[in-house]
Amino acid sequence: MRHTFIIGRRVLAQLKGDTRFLVLSVIAPLIIIYFLKLLFDTFPPLVEVKSFTIPISAFIVHFLSFILCAILLVQERTRGTLERMMISGFSKTAIIGGYTLGYFGLATVQAITVLAESIWLFNLNYDTKTVVLLFMVIWLLAIVSVMLGIFISTFAKHEAQVFPFIPLIILPSVFLTGLVISPDGLPVWAQIIGKCLPLHYAVNIIHEIIKPEYKLTDTLVDFGILTGYIFGLLVLASLSLRETE
């Protein structure tokens, strides 16, 4: 556990030292949400855009957390620091745990800023309980994205090899998880693929939370599955991260 904290502290110190990365990872989602607002403003008044706002904001956090974490870990491999950490005695569990711990902070900041901007820009009138629950969903999704980034990074030998995973994982999330259209009308096989993607459960929870008649018990299973992704991906990342060539 001590090693996990050492790595977590180092990741945080590294993020602090890389101002450009830090600003981009917080500012970029805010700019994209502003562009979303501009797009939604062009829609006819009859189109109900409010139900898309928070799910799309969550997707932006999901996408950026995944890609940034995957690239940073691949950089560890290409620069030789990952190998050096292992030879210095850090276990792969400590490395994955440390990275997750380090990104907890960034994921929290991303979730807060994205949610705050979405509520303000789109003039969403949610009560405190709803806002807290929405924050929790986006935050959990951000952690899942970090874990997914760590897992995917084990299959890439250099930064460019991360990008083919965007059409493989991220784009299906847009079309098959209920982010844009309800998945009910999709073929069964496409619905199954959609249900394998973590965004599906985050979008489900968000759609339920913003309903006036929402009860926490309605979303407990989806919350559980989203949390399960964290542990499942942690195990997968531990198994796939190789200590020896």
């Binding site: 180092r10 005695g89 200590e243």
Partner: protein
């Protein structure tokens, strides 16, 4: 006692044999050099010894431990400096050293870090981000990270590549000091002249050992071109590079008044190592 024992170690990457049934013994407290051109298997061998690479066959023992089975015990006792600096650019030199030192539970880590930074002449830049450092400074920080926990063996993969001659000299003075204090230095280089600074040298090519010897004995494998100017007439002889042979050759000419000058052109260690490698290449072609 041997710090490293390697028996019939082989490693293949697909059809390419990176190490071919390699056997070596490295005595404790020596500077042991791996010399060879790029792609000769130096890095692969070092990675197999630090437990970052699984060999296909054969075995290695480092301080009597198996690099894979006893990795946790072994990693406390070894230092490793890879070819690339392998540092966190956004952290300071001090934070990089502290990070790798913390893992090893070094007592008085902060004091030890200060000492090692001072030794590497980096005290003034200790708190600057490594990304602002020159290549040579990064190498020095990387070396500090490998040394901070007082390892018994240090594996150095081309530590002086791209360093200026002054810094290279400083590195070798440090290696010698460490060896004198009982630390074993296992160092790879493609700069043949550095072989002279080692206690023992292994010459590698395509994953095979071509020669294992002391630098002095390797020098004896070379030739010396002897040029004698007798009344402005140049006479040339090629002799073995030993002083006895030189004396014999000079006796043939006698010490006559009309010998105006004697010129000796001994093979350098680089010439000799390259000739060993070329000889092997020729053997393979024929």
């Amino acid at each position: 006692m041997n710090a490293i024992e390697i028996v019939n170690l082989s490693k293949n990457f697909g059809k390419i044999g990176a190490l071919n049934r390699m056997s070596l013994d490295v005595p404790e407290g020596t500077i042991y050099g791996l010399v060879g051109p790029n792609g000769s298997g130096k890095t692969t061998l070092i990675k197999a010894l630090v437990g970052s690479l699984r060999p296909n066959s054969g075995f290695a023992k480092v301080l009597g431990l198996d690099p894979l089975k006893d990795k946790w015990e072994l990693r406390k006792q070894i230092g490793y400096m890879p070819q690339s600096p392998a540092l966190y650019d956004d952290l300071s030199a001090r934070d990089n050293i502290l990070f790798f030192g913390k893992e090893q539970n070094v007592p008085d880590l902060h004091q030890k870090t200060d000492e090692i930074l001072s030794f590497a002449e980096l005290t003034n830049r200790a708190d600057d981000a490594v990304r602002t450092f020159s290549g040579g400074m990064k190498k020095r920080v990387s070396l500090c990270c490998a040394l901070v926990h007082n390892p018994k063996i240090i594996f150095l993969d081309e530590p002086t590549a791209a360093l200026d001659p002054y810094l290279k000299m400083l590195f070798w003075i440090l290696f010698r000091k460490l060896a004198q204090s009982g630390v074993t230095i296992f160092v790879s280089t493609h700069q043949m002249d550095e072989a002279m600074l080692c206690d023992k040298v292994t010459i590698l090519r395509n994953g095979e050992i071509l020669a294992v010897d002391t630098p002095r004995n390797i020098l004896h494998r070379g030739k010396t071109k002897l040029k004698i100017f007798d009344n402005h007439e140049e006479k040339t002889a090629v002799i073995d590079s030993t002083s006895e042979n030189l004396a014999d050759e000079l006796k043939k000419f006698g010490l006559e008044k009309n010998i105006s000058s004697v010129e000796l052109q001994p093979d350098t260690i680089e010439d000799i190592i390259l000739s060993i490698i070329r000889k092997k290449e020729k053997e393979e072609k024929s």
